[in-house]
């Protein structure tokens, strides 16, 4: 028996053309250029200095660390080059109700006792009238609140191993960092605007793009990183976009940088406002601010004014306005074109999923990297995974809006009563009944994330897990305070976040822009 599953030379992809720079474009170029370096591909990235990039996604999820590791990027060097700080989670202010705050951390709430997840014991304590602050049972939440950071321990028995972390960085600097990295790996950057796209008359496959200068770039695979306009996936291949605005009505943002005031915290803040919410992302050299809002409920000028009111330091530059629509491409890989980044789908940045979804797309595309004819099985599997990834993030985001008691504005009254997907309704009903979290294989947000938002926004289960009743009522306070003390003791020993950065990954002050 012979095994020759190699793709024959005549059918192998030789030329990959990435249209559009920005975070998505350069992440693709860097990943394909390094992970598939032995394939001898020619990789061209076309971008135009005349077209601005959105540069959203200043805050990230822990997954990005694996992406960078796979590429062999040194973490400290990357952080220094992108003015990065560490991120332990997101603080949500005024979501469930005004004057409430919780942190959705990258980490666990306690460990199961007698095979019952820890949060059931928390619910029991709440039901028995104890005054419980869920924050105190999560190490990353306490560390974030106290401005502390150190790397997690590899010793799985230590409470210091119960969290992960991500970065808060300047996405434009990240793209620049990856551009240099990619060009070192042989990726060719081609300056210019695409003016026309040629397709094979029979298959409809894209064969080349032509620039303003007249230069024609031929390719076997085209990656559409052109942002919302979807130059290839939409304007050329006419692939539809699933609009999810009815569930996620925010469709604009106004952003501005500001001078840092006080030490940078190891977490992002998302404050709910009358027609949306405002982010605050502390980097080493500046704070990123942005008001994400629904244009049906507030005008652009009012939103800009409201943004500035809530910025706590001197401004850096002028506010910038962005427009978007939450939703996903129906099949983001069509023919020989795969749409990655905003062209493939967009979910508002509430849970910092922008870069995560780009990374998911790239990782899956590389794992399923096709032959020139882009066979169905590879494309179907890619689209199946990306559809699930988008849908599951979508449900998690909707939860933040629908799980509210706020009725102080038309926007919140809409959100509170809007109809939601059945998949989410079922998840919420199950949790409300007895604190069970629906599990799934693929998807960014797992068990602890759902817990954080449920409890943080006032959804406390009506009933506890009956098995938790094995623990006698009298043992409960002791068990809870044991964990609480372990966490606060560990946090006491952690260095300050800013000291940790200064020691490990401080940006060169001369490069501050």
């Amino acid at each position: 028996m012979t095994y020759s599953p190699q793709i024959g030379a005549e059918n192998a992809v030789r030329r990959v053309v990435i249209v559009g720079g920005g975070t998505a474009g350069w992440m693709c170029a860097a990943a394909i250029g390094s992970v598939l370096s032995k394939l001898g591909l020619s990789i061209t990235l076309v971008e135009s200095d005349a077209i601005g990039t959105v540069g959203v996604g200043e805050a990230t999820l822990p997954h990005i660390r694996f992406f960078n590791q796979k590429l062999g990027i040194d973490e400290n060097a990357l952080m220094a080059a992108t003015q990065a700080t560490y991120k332990l989670g997101i603080e949500f202010k005024n979501w469930g109700n005004i004057d409430e705050s919780y942190i959705h951390p990258f980490g666990d709430f306690g460990v199961p006792i007698n095979r019952v997840p820890f949060h059931h014991y928390i619910t029991r304590a709440i039901q028995s009238g104890q005054n419980i602050d869920l924050d105190e049972y999560s190490l990353p939440v306490m560390a974030a609140r106290r401005g502390k950071f150190t790397l997690p321990s590899m010793d799985m028995s230590s409470v210091m191993s119960t969290y992960g972390y991500a970065y808060q960085f300047d996405a434009t600097l990240y793209a620049r960092f990856l551009r240099k990295f990619s060009e070192d790996k042989g990726v060719i950057r081609q300056e210019g605007k695409v003016t026309s796209v040629a397709q094979d008359p029979e298959s409809g496959f894209i064969t080349s793009v032509t620039l303003e200068s007249g230069t024609q770039i031929d390719g076997d695979i085209f990656v559409d990183c052109t942002g919302f306009r979807g130059l290839l996936i939409e304007q050329t291949l006419n692939v539809d976009f699933d609009d999810w605005s009815e569930y996620l009505p925010c469709n604009r943002a106004v952003t501005v940088g500001s001078e840092p005031i006080g030490p940078a915290g190891p977490y992002t803040r998302a404050t709910a406002k009358s027609a949306g919410w405002q982010w605050r992302i502390p980097l080493q050299h500046r704070i990123g601010n942005g008001y994400v809002y629904a244009s049906d409920y507030i005008s652009d000028d009012e939103a800009a004014a409201s943004l500035l009111e809530d910025v706590d330091g001197p401004l850096r530059g002028e506010p910038r306005h962005l427009r978007f629509k939450s939703g996903a491409r129906k099949a983001s890989w069509n023919k020989n074109c795969v749409a990655i980044g905003l062209s493939g789908g967009f979910l508002e940045p509430l849970e910092s999923t922008g870069i995560y979804l780009i990374q998911e797309a790239i990782t899956n595309f590389i794992e399923l990297f096709p032959s020139r004819d882009c066979p169905d099985p590879e494309r179907d599997e890619y689209n199946r995974i990306m559809d699930l990834s988008f849908e599951r993030v979508r449900d998690f985001l909707i939860l933040h809006y629908v799980a509210t008691q706020r009725t102080d504005s038309a926007f919140w009254r809409y959100c509170k009563d809007m109809s939601i997907p059945d998949s989410l309704q079922h998840k919420m009903d199950l949790f409300k009944s007895s604190g069970r979290v629906v599990s799934y294989e693929l998807g960014a947000f797992k068990f602890p994330s759902w817990l954080a938002v449920y409890y943080g926004q006032g959804i406390v289960p009506r009933n506890i897990d009956p098995v938790s009743a094995h623990m006698p009522e009298t043992a409960l306070p002791g068990e809870l305070s044991r964990l609480k003390n372990m966490i606060s003791g560990a946090v006491n020993k952690m260095p300050n976040h800013t000291d940790y950065i200064a020691e490990n990954c401080a940006a060169d002050p001369s490069e501050v822009m």
Partner: protein
């Protein structure tokens, strides 16, 4: 929780009921009354005689000591499954992976990219438990600081009747009422169980575990899994060189599963002339009203992964994980049904793909190969055939490595290897393979034989097991 005591009756026809009775009694707190009804002779006993490693966790929770279990159940250690007659050569599926990733690339992809055979029959030297099975050697996994030596797991082949007796004792110890009845009549509407002597018990939840009630919502699989009966042979001889894995064997005329115990061996032959009825299929809705179906009442499936005990365990653990605070109209029941249905369908896919991909000669197999696959199974096969990749679906419990071994073992060779594995050079592959096989062969050489290990640590007294 309401103060009134809730009553759960488990009607145990097959082993799943005994497992449920003991586990529910252990996990549910005071406030729940458990009645375990032993229904005459244990049903489908031999089908349950092969356990996945998960059973060790189950026994630990039930405070069943391992040596007690082995000696009471005439058990031997199990490292996987030997599969014969499906592909061009016999191969092993173990509770461990074949090979190691090479420079971050998958093992099979690296083999394929270098034009090497990915057939598991050619790879036993690169899978520690497969090598142990081949040489009849056994030692338990090392502590987790030792890679490879710690990276496998074991279950058992055992006598379900002995286990059922143990489980009854555990159930009683955890407060269950254990009674015997030749038969039961379940009145779902009234929430009532009538015993053969006429006594009637009322319950808030009735677990029908192989109680042989007729279910109106039974979805038959006999069209695609056409095995209607089986026969069991149990030679009562002393077995030397006891196998470390059951044998699944396909031949032109039959399909059989056989395994060794300490003092006997068991052969189950799926054959229309067998005296045990076997109608494959599943309940569309496993938990309806106050009756939850378990074991053979919930799903009857060819035990091609030899994991019926594991299926029962997963269902029972899921029931506890989702146990409703109110048995009246629970959303937890909906979630149980949603997950269990998906889980059963994934098990069905795994079995159907055995039949679909078998290379066995004979009219029976020609017919099986022509079966029309359900959507998900077809998807899985086409993705694997194209790329050697296993689609990850929710509620999947079959290890990725079992899928790989199964499809490659049945000579499904992916048309295209992963592009990343092109990075692995022949020299890199060669040195990786040599190092691994040397390490494994040294490790196996140092192990005692399976027979010696048992004789030394856990010999069962030689008595007759039914």
């Amino acid at each position: 929780m309401s103060a009134a005591q809730q009553h759960i009756i488990v009607a145990a026809g097959d082993l799943s009921g005994y497992m449920a009775g003991a586990y529910l009694a252990r996990m549910l707190p005071a406030g729940f009354k458990i009645t375990l009804i032993r229904l005459g002779k244990l049903q489908a006993a031999e089908l349950y005689g092969t356990a996945h490693p998960d059973i060790r966790r189950f026994n630990k929770i039930l405070q069943i000591n391992e040596v007690d279990f082995i000696t009471s159940c005439n058990a031997v250690f199990r490292l996987g499954l030997t599969v014969c007659g499906f592909g061009h050569a016999p191969y092993a599926r173990t509770f461990s992976q074949y090979g190691l990733p090479i420079d971050g690339n998958g093992f099979y992809e690296s083999l394929l990219a270098n034009g090497r055979s990915p057939h598991p029959a050619d790879l036993a030297a690169y899978n520690l438990p497969a090598a142990m099975i081949a040489q009849g050697k056994f030692a338990p996994p090392a502590d987790s600081s030792k890679p490879i030596l710690s990276d496998f797991d074991y279950g058992y082949c055992f006598d379900p009747a002995g286990y059922a007796d143990m489980l009854c004792k555990r159930a009683a110890k955890f407060g269950a009422n254990v009674i015997t009845s030749e038969d039961v009549d379940i009145d779902a509407m009234a929430g009532r169980v009538t015993l053969s002597k006429g006594q009637t018990l009322k319950a808030d939840l009735i677990v029908d575990a192989g109680a042989r009630q007729i279910h109106p919502d039974w979805q038959s699989w006999t069209e695609t899994m056409p095995h209607t009966a089986y026969a069991v042979h149990r030679p009562q001889t002393d077995i030397h060189a006891k196998r470390l894995a059951p044998t699944l064997k396909a031949s032109a005329s039959a399909l059989s599963l056989s395994y060794d115990l300490q003092h006997s061996s068991v052969e189950i032959k799926f054959d229309p002339s067998g005296d045990n009825e076997f109608q494959t299929g599943r309940c569309r809705v496993p938990w309806t009203g106050n009756v939850l179906r378990l074991g053979q009442s919930a799903m009857t499936i060819l035990p091609l992964e030899a994991n019926l005990t594991q299926i029962a365990q997963i269902d029972i653990e899921r029931l506890i994980e989702l146990f409703p605070p109110d048995l009246g109209a629970p959303i937890e029941r909906e979630e149980y049904n949603r997950r269990t249905s998906d889980f059963y369908d994934r098990m069905r896919d795994f079995v159907l793909l055995h039949l679909k991909t078998a290379k066995t000669g004979g009219a029976m197999w020609d017919k099986a190969r022509n079966l029309k696959l359900p959507k998900e199974a077809g998807y899985k096969l086409s993705l694997f055939s194209a790329r050697g990749r296993i689609a990850v679906l929710d509620e999947e419990t079959t290890l990725k490595d079992s899928w790989h071994a199964m499809l490659l073992g049945h000579n499904i060779v992916p048309e295209r290897a992963g592009a990343m594995a092109m990075n692995v050079t022949p020299a890199q592959l060669e040195s990786n393979l040599t190092r691994l096989s040397k390490f494994i062969s040294r490790a196996v050489d140092a192990m005692p034989s399976h027979d010696d290990f048992i004789a030394r640590h856990c010999p069962a007294s030689k008595r007759t097991h039914e």
